[in-house]
Symmetry: C2
Subunit: 148 residues, 2 copies
DNA sequence: CTTAACTCCGTACTTGAGTACGGAGTCAAG
DNA sequence: CTTGACTCCGTACTCAAGTACGGAGTTAAG
């Protein structure tokens, strides 16, 4: 006989808001729970684990849609399908990492120049951004136009 | 006597769409251009540089609002203010980098386990995500709850 | 029995960076 | 002088992941 929660307690327990639970419900991320006579939802511990799964996966960069598909493979029979999803995610993470590293380099350089040349006629940071054949241009192309 | 463009040519030249130009206009990211008699906008080369500035800054992770404030410092007199903005941005980039590195580690581990234990009863990737006291838990806390 | 707290539901709003739409005006070529 | 391409404008829509609202029903305590 599992312990049961109302949505408010459940949400607090899972570390999210009531609205988020209802939202996940609509999205099909957590099962439609049984209801008490008045129509009030009754959750149990397994639902909390489910929400934690969602949050853990989210912290690894999965979108709710991706998490939904991960959950559809939940029985372990489709382990390799899950691995494929995770591998694609990992590849995406590595791309974003590379982007960010380049950004860090450029931004760091600009900040340093800005410090070094303080009092210069023109702000090196801003003029670098403005100058389309400056150092930045090379980076601009290598960073490319894809939005994270 | 600078060369002048209609909005269509200008947008193509700057590598964006007409709608984007109009959008930037509304946002105040590019100046309100002069108009020909029929009310048609006339842009020149300096406007293209401006759009390139926006795009370059965007590639460094600045939001349009941040770019707008950067543009307000354009005269170079406020070089150190621009530097502060860039330094904050750089700090943010470094936080995101650290996050992503942790994510890469965890995701990489999960994928490896998944490969190694193929045919196991339970998918290690999914059960790791499900198990709130697994290796993941530590990472979950260190990764933290901030969304990029 | 009343009151407060909680839950129900659908709907609308938020943010950021654009995209899409649609009717009207304009411009250059033929 | 008509045709087709382009431009004007405001408005509404997109996506993601929720958040907010508001009126009605329910439940537990006093």
């Amino acid at each position: 006989m599992p312990v049961e929660f109302t949505i408010g307690v459940f949400a607090a327990e899972a570390g999210v808001t009531v609205e988020t639970i209802r939202f996940y419900q609509r999205k099909g991320l957590i099962r439609e729970p049984s209801r008490a006579l008045g129509g009030i939802r009754r959750y149990d511990a397994s639902d909390i684990a489910r929400v934690r799964f969602v949050k853990a996966a989210q912290n690894l960069g999965f979108s709710l849609d991706e998490i939904a598909s991960l959950l559809r493979l939940e029985d372990g029979a489709h382990c390799d399908e899950a691995r494929v999803v995770a591998e694609e995610k990992l590849a995406g993470v590595r791309v974003r990492l590379a982007d960010l590293r380049r950004i860090e380099t450029v931004l760091g350089m600009l900040v340093d120049e800005c410090c070094a040349l303080a009092g210069h006629v023109r702000c090196p940071l801003i003029s670098a951004l403005q100058n389309q054949q400056g150092d930045l241009a090379e980076f601009r192309f290598s960073i490319g136009g894809h939005r994270s």
